[in-house]
């Protein structure tokens, strides 16, 4: 009898394992795309080039330049740079930043022999480095930036106390993408100008959300998650998070919490957290709720890079049965904002600082390079011709919005009849972004933003779920902040 109990128990446990294993394979989320400007090309992440000692020239007698980044994007420019400078060997190291691995690795390398020559800095932490004392002064490149009419906020972000330490090849104004077919159904028009008028501020946006819910019988959500509109609210604060070492909660933050709560309670959002399965499923209409009913998402807040890197690749479902390409349109949305972007800086300790500066100039301020970058010249064949070792998926598709106004104005017409405009039902998104970019303001950005905003996510979720009160939410957030900001004065 005991024997049979044993077999039964064992069988149950083994069966449990087997079930758990089966269930997961079909549903593993695409967690690769966590951060802005991450094209989710994880294949090159698997084999990051080993960090070669910077002082030692390679066997070929070339000068070695070490470049660290968190996506494989900049490797494209590195190969193009090698094409122009045959005597230079760029050793490219990619460390993903899904949970902050890149930042941690970089911090640990500071002041050691492993420190690279050039580092990529994402918008969420670029200020930490611009405010600290590890990056070289790139002021000598400012006249080039002026000639390029580089968007002012790009330079503001890279500047601290009048010293410019980082430049970006991208400008990243935000936008609102919506489904044309759904707009026609609920608002009687899919014309971007009329839709923009309907969604011109957040009160109107909320009213529109109610209409969408009512007319769809609750089967279409205005947004996939309330986290989607966190950026627009936070970008329109009047004060940064920290003033004189004291935490500041701007009224816009309260307004965000209020709006998020309203969207949850009224069922205007799908509760599909950003960068998770449901969020991507909404982009191609394959979202299905727990009971099996199909659900739709009306709009997504995404910036420039969100179109070529996030929305377009996910508009077709993995099994090919759902496709929303061509059914999208883009407008400014209720509030102007900016999201993400990659800056490049040169480490002070770099033994090849002149060459490193030249690389940063080439990547961020060279008009030819920026034009090639944005218009799809850097194909895999192009890169393979320079370096046959380049991975097969290394390339740059057209459409990234660059930081130079001169280049942008020159290339706008090339997007008139492109694949991207076909995706947007004929709209030239590049022209729209060109209008939004000059007015972007990044003066609020500080090095602590990312950590402060991340710490708010869980308390907000608890509040939205109704587990805690709003007061408890603020208290819990402040406790979280104390962990990471021991010197911050929290009122």
């Amino acid at each position: 009898m005991r024997k049979s109990t044993f077999y039964l128990l064992s069988l149950l446990i083994v069966l449990g394992l087997a079930l758990a294993a089966c269930g997961g394979t079909s549903t593993t989320p695409d967690t690769a795309v966590e951060e802005p400007a991450a094209p989710a090309e994880e294949s090159s992440a698997a084999e990051p080039t080993a960090v070669a000692p910077a002082e030692e020239p390679a066997a070929t007698g070339k000068t070695v330049l070490n470049v660290w980044s968190f996506t494989n994007e900049i490797n494209t420019m590195a190969v193009a740079f090698e094409g122009l400078h045959p005597d230079v060997d760029i050793v490219y190291t990619m460390i993903p930043m899904t949970n902050g691995e890149y930042q941690t690795k970089l911090k640990a390398a500071l002041g050691t022999a492993d420190v690279p020559d050039v580092i990529a800095l994402e918008a969420s932490f670029v200020k930490e480095y611009v405010e600290a004392d590890f990056l070289a002064d790139l002021g000598e490149l400012l006249p080039v930036a002026e000639a390029n009419k580089t968007y002012p906020f790009v330079i503001d972000v890279g500047t601290n106390d009048g010293i410019t330490k980082a430049f970006a090849y991208q400008a990243t104004p935000g936008a609102l993408f919506y489904r044309r077919s759904l707009a026609k159904e609920y608002f009687g028009t899919d014309d971007p100008e009329q839709i923009q008028a309907l969604l011109a501020d957040f009160d109107k946006f909320t009213e529109a959300a109610a209409i969408v819910k009512e007319k769809s019988g609750g089967n279409t959500y205005m947004v996939a998650s309330s986290g989607d509109f966190q950026n627009p609210f936070f970008a329109n604060r009047e004060q940064p998070w920290i003033v004189d070492d004291t935490l500041v909660v701007d009224p816009m933050v309260n307004k965000y919490v209020e709006t998020a709560k309203l969207f949850r309670d009224e069922g205007y959002e799908a509760q599909a957290a950003q960068w998770q399965e449901g969020w991507f499923a909404g982009m191609n209409d394959s979202l299905v709720d727990a009971e099996g009913n199909p659900k739709q998402v009306f709009s997504y807040f995404l910036p420039t890079w969100g179109l070529p890197y996030v929305l377009a690749p996910n508009a077709t479902s993995a099994d090919g049965t759902h496709d929303t390409s061509g059914d999208w349109a883009v407008v400014t949305g209720p509030l102007p904002y900016q999201w993400g972007g990659t800056w490049l800086g040169v480490m002070k300790e770099s033994p090849n600082s002149e060459l490193a500066k030249e690389f940063v100039r080439f990547a961020t301020l060279d008009q030819d390079n920026l034009t090639n970058w944005a218009t799809g010249v850097y194909t895999n064949e192009f890169l393979k011709a320079i370096d046959p070792q380049v991975p097969d998926d290394q390339q740059q598709a057209p459409g990234d919005f660059v930081s130079s106004q001169v280049v942008v104005e020159k290339i706008i017409p090339s997007f008139d009849n492109s694949d991207l405009s076909a995706f947007l039902g004929g709209q030239n998104s590049y022209a729209g972004f060109a209008e939004a970019a000059p007015s972007v303001n990044a003066k609020l950005m500080t090095g602590s933003d990312d950590a402060i905003q991340r710490a708010l996510n869980d308390p907000i979720n608890q509040y939205l779920n109704g587990e805690i009160t709003e007061d408890e939410m603020w208290a819990s957030w402040k406790d979280n902040l104390r962990i990471e900001f021991p010197d911050l004065i929290i009122p």
Binding site: F6, S10, A20, A290, S448, N461, S476, P486
Partner: protein, 312 residues
């Protein structure tokens, strides 16, 4: 010249002395890799951590000041640290009790002379398998299973067990339960292997004579297996305690890496890592957490040795 007897004896003893010295010398040489490794990677980091915990060192600033005990004071200024310690103990104890219980039960069955189960090796291998999976893969698996649009919600709603989909991973009790389950599931197989090794080393004749004397299975377990297994149990206990106090990967990866929801799976090491990876990289403050966890674990481990020691 011919040596006389006594001289010959002397020189022979010299050879022996030299040989003995040489032997000892080689012994030191052989243990040197461990000792050097321990000094460099074990002892030095401990003292360096202790030193750092009294400073305000950060990774992003070049100078650091001696700040006395203020890092420690800060840890007790709010209940984040005490909460992390409580969580760590809760998560460890609740996974260790079923872990040792099930492992003990299965080991007894596997080694039982009465049951004589077949294919023991296969069962043991199956139970050990989860331990071979990467924690990252397991965390990702459970993350998607229990996500809002995931299969668990689909199953439970369609089976009528839940009225509507639930944000499982935003519920503190569910998150804790999952961590406990995963830790148990990953580690009970490893414990079985150690316990079985201990049980098979107990002489079978003890059981045979007990059976002749009419002892029941339970009697044999309490009076033969358990007492003779004590050294093994102490080992399992202490290694699991040390591992449990440093629990990191599963709770870190299961939610947002901040011990969410509501700090319910915030463990000692996640707190330490948060301080380390904070905007400036406060390694001084992180070291203070490490020092306290080190002291707590050492005291408890020594306590286990003391209470479970052989008493004459």
């Amino acid at each position: 010249m011919v040596l006389d007897k006594s001289e010959r004896k002397q020189s022979r003893s010299k050879v022996i002395v030299r040989r003995r010295f040489k032997k000892n010398y080689y012994g030191y040489l052989f243990i040197a890799p461990f000792v050097i490794g321990f000094l460099v990677f074990g002892l030095y980091p401990i003292f360096n951590t202790l030193y750092l915990s009294f400073t305000d060192t950060t990774l992003l600033s070049k100078e650091a000041n001696f700040v006395g005990l203020s890092n420690f004071q800060r840890l007790f200024a709010d209940d984040v640290f005490t909460n992390a310690v409580k969580n760590t103990w809760l998560l460890w104890i609740l996974n260790f009790i079923p872990q040792i219980g099930i492992a003990m039960l299965l080991s007894v069955w596997f080694t039982s002379a009465r049951l004589k189960l077949r294919a023991v090796g296969i069962w043991r291998a199956l139970f050990f398998l989860p331990n071979l999976l990467m924690p990252a893969a397991i965390a990702a698996l459970f993350f998607s299973l229990f996500s809002f649009y995931g299969p668990v919600n689909q199953f439970m709603v369609r089976a009528g067990l839940l009225p509507e989909a639930k944000q499982f991973l935003q519920d503190p009790m569910v998150a804790r339960g999952l961590v406990i389950f995963i830790q148990w599931w990953m580690w009970f197989g490893a414990t079985i292997i150690i316990l079985m090794a201990g049980m098979t080393s107990i002489s079978i004749s003890l059981y045979e004579s007990a059976m002749v004397d009419g002892a029941s299975g339970l009697d044999m377990f309490w009076r033969i297996t358990l007492p003779l297994l004590k050294p093994i149990l102490i080992y399992v206990f202490v290694t699991s305690l040390v591992g449990g106090m440093q629990m990191f990967d599963i709770p870190y990866l299961l939610t947002d890496g901040r011990g969410s929801p509501s700090g319910s799976i915030m463990t000692n090491n996640i707190l330490m890592y948060l301080k380390f990876s904070s905007s400036k990289g406060h390694i001084g403050a992180a070291s203070a957490v490490g020092v306290l966890v080190f002291i707590m674990t050492s005291v408890c481990a020594l306590g286990i040795f003391y209470f479970l020691r052989e008493r004459d």
